[in-house]
């Protein structure tokens, strides 16, 4: 889409409105003036007709006739176009007429006002039909003689006045419009300044500078406040995500560096001086073990990254139906060896046939990670239980309980974070890396479930996983 200027549009709209207003104002004032001027014109026209009529007098002959005294003719209303008139008796006999002649079709009169053109000049005529001729002397006959007066004046002067009026009103309005436009332009630009400052502020945000100080003006503008708040909240969420990512990278780097440091120092200390073959062999075996742990760390990190990436990009995944109990059993049998080494019993309580939409390998991985954790923290000779509870038609809860030392209350909110672990040395010694629970959380979240950990009253920890099940 083409770029356009918001202030340009606002200013354009304002000017257009003003222009329309100006046009309407001019038209209205000209129309009004025209009506008023015509009324005045008509009154003056009638006045002239009557004045002209007054110039008709009776002769002293018997029977008296009519004569016209043109000496007192009123001046023409128009300085250029002379007024035209005709006075006739009722018989049609001409009494008087102006120098200029009315067009023949107007000679008979119409009984009222009428507009006509004469040689391109607009005229308006009034007809005084059958009016009695008065005389200020007493010798007027009875009944009095009657005449018809047709009097016409040019409208051009009035039209010129109207045109001048239109010109002045329109011109003044246009001048005012120019002034108003300049004011509007300045005002709109000025009012939009906070928007520009906001953009300026927003443009300084970068991966290294997350501070966003919206201009105080932007916060009090009704239209800008939602935008400012939206920017702030987006920024906040982005910053959190960014920080989380950076923390992950930094934690991952820390773990990787430590693992590499172990392998490297093992190699260098082995090479420090000549040693018996047995010592080399023991050293190499150790290093193989270290490499295995490094591999494990990498595999877990990639797994976690992949789960989160899939969750971020594809939205909820569609899975086939999986039977829950069998995945728990599979996980228990996988953990049996490790548990046996520590003399810990694994028990599945309340196995129920529950189906849910999930990948069986994902489910098994969740239980394996939870069991691994439980077994690591349980005292030898104790029991770890996996309990399946059907919560509702469409929900199932799996709890893994151990009799370990529990989780310090201040650690509880964080145990599902990456690289978080209660006792780093111990977790690392058992290959935990603090990623197991984070993987569980990512998997459970991807399945639309919830995971929670709590200390059991007395001793031990309970981790509950709630998952949506298919109705059976």
């Amino acid at each position: 889409m083409k770029r356009f200027s918001l202030s340009g549009r606002i200013i354009g709209t304002v000017i257009l409105c003003q222009l329309l207003l100006t046009a309407a104002l001019t038209a209205a004032s000209v129309l009004y003036a025209r009506v008023e001027l015509r009324r005045a014109f008509d009154a003056a026209l009638e006045g002239r007709a009557i004045s002209t009529l007054a110039l008709v007098r009776y002769t002293e002959s018997v029977p008296p006739d009519l004569l016209f005294d043109p000496t007192l003719l009123p001046p023409s209303s128009d300085s250029v176009q002379k007024d035209l008139f005709v006075i006739r008796k009722a018989t049609g006999q001409l009494v008087a007429r102006s120098d200029g002649e009315l067009p023949p079709e107007q000679e008979q009169g119409s009984g009222g006002y009428i507009d006509f053109q004469l040689a391109g000049v607009p005229y308006r005529a009034v007809t005084l039909q059958n009016v009695a001729v008065l005389d200020d002397e007493d010798d007027a006959p009875h009944p009095r003689l009657r005449v018809t007066v047709i009097y016409a004046s040019s409208l051009s002067e009035m039209h010129r006045h109207l045109a001048e009026l239109g010109f002045y009103v329109g011109g003044t309005s246009l001048l005012l419009l120019l002034l108003a436009s300049a004011l509007a332009t300045w005002g709109v630009r000025r009012r939009l300044l906070p928007l520009r400052e906001l953009a300026q502020q927003a443009s300084t945000i970068s991966a290294s500078n997350w501070s966003f100080h919206p201009p105080a003006e932007a916060m009090v503008v009704t239209e800008l406040a939602p935008l400012t708040e939206a920017i702030e909240s987006v920024l906040h969420r982005l910053h959190d995500a960014f920080r989380q990512q950076r923390d992950f990278t930094s934690d991952a780097a820390h773990e990787l560096k430590t693992s590499v440091a172990i392998v490297k120092s093992s190699l260098q200390s082995l090479l420090q001086r000549p040693r018996p073959v047995a010592e080399y062999q023991a050293g190499l075996a150790d290093m193989l073990e270290d490499c295995g742990r490094l591999e494990d760390l990498l595999a877990r990190m990639l797994r976690l990254a992949r789960i989160e990436q899939v969750a971020d990009s594809e939205g909820p995944r569609i899975f086939g139906t999986t039977e829950l109990t069998s995945t728990c059993e599979a996980a228990i049998s996988r953990m049996q060896t490790l548990a046996g080494q520590r003399n810990i019993a694994l028990e599945l309580v309340n196995p129920t046939a529950v189906h849910l939409h999930a990948d069986p390998e994902d489910l098994e991985l969740i239980w394996v990670n939870l069991l691994e954790n439980a077994v690591q923290y349980s005292p030898p000779g104790s029991k770890v239980t996996v309990r399946i509870d059907r919560e509702a038609a469409a929900a199932v809860r799996v709890s893994v309980e151990d009799s370990g030392p529990g989780i310090p209350p201040e650690e509880l909110p964080y145990i599902f974070e990456r690289f978080r672990r209660g006792d780093p040395s111990r977790a690392r010694a058992t290959g935990g890396f603090g990623l197991g629970l984070a993987i569980c959380k990512a998997l459970v979240t991807a399945l639309g479930g919830r995971i929670e950990a709590a200390n059991r009253p007395g001793t031990g920890t309970r981790v509950c996983v709630q998952l949506p099940a298919t109705a059976s």
């Binding site: 590499v260 260098q268 200390s269 270290d290 690392r428 010694a429």
Partner: protein
């Protein structure tokens, strides 16, 4: 010389300790967490602390600050996986003397450790000369005049300590504290065995004697013509 390694990663701790024992001939104690590390560091006599930062129970940086707050002057070499500038600045300001970033080179680590031990004893050069005795702590050789002298590891440790504190009287207790790690039973009479061994190898048949007994106080390494 005696070093305390505070490192929670057992394999890394073992490797570092082995390097210090074999590469520098130091006595080494290892602490696996911050609390134990702080206890050992404040209760024992050490010539160097090697400190990891990510420690269970007590954070390495907190340990360092507390240790310095108690007035201990022992040099501290920090092992860290973070080498950002601000982090290093914070470490040095907390009282660390030097740091190596993981994954470090064991040779560089040893060189830095030795340099810190030297400086902690007021010596700049790895070669300490007393009369015609030339003690080289980097090559771990001892010469008198033109003659190379072969010492047992324990004799070397005794001489190393005396050489770093040369011309000062070192008590038998001090020697014991700095020669053995925590696991050794300490018998004061074995010191005399090493001293006599050193005397035999360094001083026998020479006009200028170097190792002297200050009765009731201890031993001193200095050039003294036998009267």
């Amino acid at each position: 010389m005696r070093v305390l390694v505070v490192e929670d990663e057992p394999r890394l701790a073992a490797n570092v300790a082995r390097a210090l024992r074999e590469g520098a001939g130091y006595a080494v104690d290892v602490a696996a967490d911050g609390q134990e590390g702080f206890y050992l560091a404040t209760s024992g006599e050490y010539d160097l602390l090697v400190l990891d930062l990510m420690l269970p129970k007590l954070d390495g940086q907190v340990l360092l600050s507390r240790y310095r707050a108690k007035g201990h002057q022992t040099p501290v070499l920090v092992l860290t996986a973070r080498d950002e500038k601000e982090w290093v600045v914070r470490l040095l300001n907390a009282g660390a003397d030097d740091y190596v970033a993981k994954p470090f080179d064991l040779g560089e680590f040893l060189a830095r450790a030795k340099a810190l031990v030297r400086r902690g004893k007021g010596q700049r050069s790895p070669i300490i000369t007393v009369a015609d005795l030339r003690f080289d702590s980097s090559a771990r050789t001892v010469r008198r005049g033109q003659q190379d002298i072969a010492l047992t590891p324990m004799e070397y440790r005794v001489l190393e300590y005396l050489a770093h504190r040369c011309r000062a009287v070192v008590s038998k207790t001090e020697l014991l504290e700095h020669l053995y790690d925590y696991n050794w039973e300490k018998f004061s009479n074995v010191i005399e065995v090493y001293i006599s061994g050193l005397r035999r190898k360094l001083d026998d048949g020479r006009a200028v004697k170097l190792i002297h007994t200050v009765r009731g106080h201890g031993y001193v390494l200095r050039a003294e013509r036998e009267s």
